[in-house]
Symmetry: C2
Subunit: 515 residues, 2 copies
């Protein structure tokens, strides 16, 4: 069957299990768009801004454990998507990132939209290829899927010159093989066993797959036998948690608190976690958070089979076959009028519905939400992974596309939410079941703290750069602009009422919470 | 006087004539922010999104003919600013683009926000340097200013590791020398004279400085003597036009119309313009727009002194000392009820106030606005230069900062405006005198045409990707969300009334024009 390159690529993507394309196309992508018409099995989700598309692909990948594709327009379109591709890279989310490009022969003319797309793509891409011909582009697509899925997972960027889309293609390419996760060597197990039997304090520092749910269950068995402690990374791509799961705290974000959390350990065993380092450098403070006397050892890197490594370690130390996690119980609703971090956290603990997906870009507001929600109904928690703000609303959009039967709750700092609020429109258009909670403190609160952390002594002009209250953002109006219903709440009882209402209905809803 | 690197940099920027910083800072930029407090003469303008900052710096540079600085947060912040830096690059706008980075010693730890900033910056930067020490950073800043101003003008990116900001600096660096615009060689004048005397049809194709105002006056004298025709590029960074100026048409955007506009010429003399090429490639159509038989010759490239070249050419052909431009007269207000491209263009021609700055990202809607506004009161017209949509609202913001006494009017396509609408908030915060007109056709209208141009035969799913009407964007609500008053108009008389009201008051105002 004769088909052009674009159609051969779309059919190859569908054959390789890629079912969703988050798009913000332009002229050079029109053949790809037209091919979507002719191919069954690829859902096209339009985004108003590329950061919405890439953030949605990240949220989708975290929940589906397989890639969506994006469709971006040349270098500037990729540029707009870079911030959330950076987050996806840090979350190790598989994404097939398709970037349209001028026809191969047209690039030499340096038309206005011409730019060095590869240079822009390289920093966020685990795999990068520019299509050379229409006959090769299906195989390029198959290779991109395999590269995205290759452990530990990543962004595979395929740059698609327009003529490789419109000229005659070669038909559907078969899926390319995906290497399995590597098994950690026996020596690594032995080293970890020695640490656990040393009689000295040991931390099991969990990240990536090891922290999700099953990994924590095995780690808890090891802890029960050996007395080791468990700690998650500061940011985690996905944790399945709530009632019946193993509770876990996270390494604190502030450097001094993080160092205090690690200072008593003599051994830190990394399982899917990377070396604990400060998010930012500060004058006079170290970058590495573990004490210098501590043996930091990677049992399993993110590309390894972390579950297998934990299970072998559990058996090697003679861990029990199962331990019952503690049951903190669901928090009750708080009383009083006051909206603050504590009361809001308690409301979340009480009201998060079973099966909910919480997309957390709370920044300063949400640092204490984690313990109080441990006793909530079972749910999944996704965090901002790469520190690039503006992920929350797009990530929720993608998670809702991946899991249409689960309620999605976005915990969104106001300053960060303003980067990519356009994704609310996609939520309305696709009738996604997402409740967005905006923590409205009308400032870049994190920067007020950071200004103090770096030792700077701010005056009016500096503080003015961190303030969002002149004029105040009117979030319900913004939401209405994008076709989403919204309310502002200023008291705790009103928040509880409106949140209950939003959770009981289907479809997108936004609540601006005055803090 | 002891000062840290950040303060030495800010003082150097002010000493070098950089008076405005469009900021969206993060933790790694806190010392720069703190330094703004201690230094007189640098206005800090906060943007909610980096594309707003870079687009504003572009608009500022076009009107001030000198650079503003930006302040962006690491690789992802730069990423968000890339689309409008791409436009600035194509407009040859001088910008000192400052990108914060982790402390030099912290980069090796690969903290979550670490990325290859240079790789991201290179495609949009005429000059690129990463600061190595606090003592060198003032000189780096002086070099960046000179590089931004070096003809033809460009984006100078200075990456600023946090420790080069907080450690002790070296004091203010003196301004670095800026090379003058090169004089075109006499041979180029001779070649152009020969073409003009050949008796064959000649086009003077004007861009960059040659198209602004003075260049057109000289070109018109040459045309009066020789019979040559004048034509501007499709996109122009800045044209000063309206009553009393030399009228000029632009090379049409659609390839077939552009080829038709050029097909009769045997000589095309480029003055500040680049080679006429198709914006996009299309199957079966050429990339170069000039006929193969045509001699295309660059009298002056953008880095040359184009005014000098035109004046020498005028003298060489014996052009008259002055010619009076035709006086088309200000259009009268149209009658009837119907809002369409023609009636809207006529309203603009009638109501654009003297001294207004028109920031044009009209895309499809505005292709016919140019002729009908030639007779308007004298004004300045800025266009989307690099094809990267989402420039209009930010560019207007920067132009208004540069020219507080001039009315700014943004002509904004709705699809494009949704990329960077956050800049409305900066307009409100800074009380900028900007009227934003949104052409609300609720679709990516340009892509409907392009889908046909590339020969694709769209179905429902493809057309759905180009539609913005489900749900419709409510622009007055969006504006209110950002603190700007807005109205939607659906009839011509209502549009005229509301536009008159908006032009008569000061401060930002938005009108959604139903088309």
């Amino acid at each position: 069957m004769a088909m052009n390159g674009a159609e051969s690529l779309v059919r190859t993507l569908v054959a390789g299990g890629v079912e969703v394309c988050f798009t913000n196309p332009g002229t050079s992508e029109m053949h790809f768009v037209a091919a979507l018409d002719r191919v069954e099995g690829m859902r096209a989700v339009l985004c108003l801004f590329e950061g919405g598309a890439t953030g949605a692909a990240d949220g989708y990948a975290r929940m589906a454990d397989k890639p969506a594709s994006t469709l971006l327009h040349l270098g500037p379109g990729l540029g707009n998507g870079i911030a959330n591709l950076h987050n996806a890279r840090r979350a190790r989310s598989p994404i097939v990132n398709i970037v349209g490009e001028h026809a191969t022969y047209h690039r030499a003319y340096d038309a206005p939209l011409t730019s060095d797309i590869e240079s822009l793509a390289r920093p966020v891409s685990a795999w990068l290829r520019t299509g050379l011909s229409a006959r090769a582009v299906a195989a390029d697509g198959a290779a991109a899927i395999a590269a995205a899925l290759a452990p530990p997972g990543g962004v595979a960027t395929l740059i698609l010159p327009a003529d490789t889309a419109w000229e005659e293609g070669s038909g559907v390419a078969p899926p390319a093989p995906v290497p399995p996760r590597a098994r950690v060597p026996d020596e690594a197990i032995t080293h970890a066993v020695a640490a656990l039997r040393s009689g000295e304090p040991v931390l099991l520092h969990l990240g990536d797959r090891a922290v999700r749910g099953e990994g924590r269950r095995i780690a808890a068995r090891i802890a029960a036998k050996t007395g080791a402690q468990l700690l998650a990374m500061t940011s985690n791509a996905r944790i399945d948690r709530g009632a019946g799961t193993v509770p876990i705290e996270r390494l604190p974000y502030p450097v001094d608190l993080a160092r205090a959390a690690l200072e008593s350990y003599r051994h830190i065993i990394l399982v899917g976690a990377t070396l604990p380092v400060a998010f930012f450098a500060y004058p006079g403070k170290p970058s590495a958070l573990a004490p210098p006397t501590c043996d930091v050892f990677a049992l399993a890197n993110p590309e390894h089979d972390q579950i297998d490594a934990l299970e072998r370690l559990a058996q090697a130390v003679g861990a029990p076959a199962a331990v019952d996690p503690p049951s903190p119980g669901r928090p009750s609703l708080p009383g009083g009028e006051r909206l603050d971090q504590d009361s809001v956290g308690q409301v979340l603990g009480a009201l998060i519905p079973e099966g909910a997906i919480v997309c957390d870009e709370s920044i300063t507001t949400g640092r204490n939400f984690f313990p109080v929600t441990q006793g909530a109904a079972p749910h999944t928690w996704l965090q901002l992974s790469g520190g690039s703000i503006g992920l929350g609303i797009p990530m929720a959009t993608g998670a809702a596309v991946a899991c249409p039967d689960r309620k999605v709750i976005t915990l969104q700092a106001d300053g960060s939410g303003l980067y990519t609020a356009q994704s609310l429109w996609t939520q309305a258009r696709e009738k996604l079941d997402v409740v967005t909670l905006i923590w409205s403190n009308r400032s870049y609160a994190i920067l007020r703290a950071e200004l103090a952390n770096v030792g700077a002594n701010p005056g009016r002009k500096a503080l003015d750069m961190l303030s969002l209250d002149d004029p105040p953002i009117d979030w319900p109006s913004l939401a209405r602009g994008y076709g989403v219903e919204g309310r502002r709440v200023e008291t705790l009882p009103h928040f509880i009422d409106v949140l209950r209402h939003a959770l009981a209905r289907r479809g997108p809803f936004l609540i601006e919470v005055a803090l």
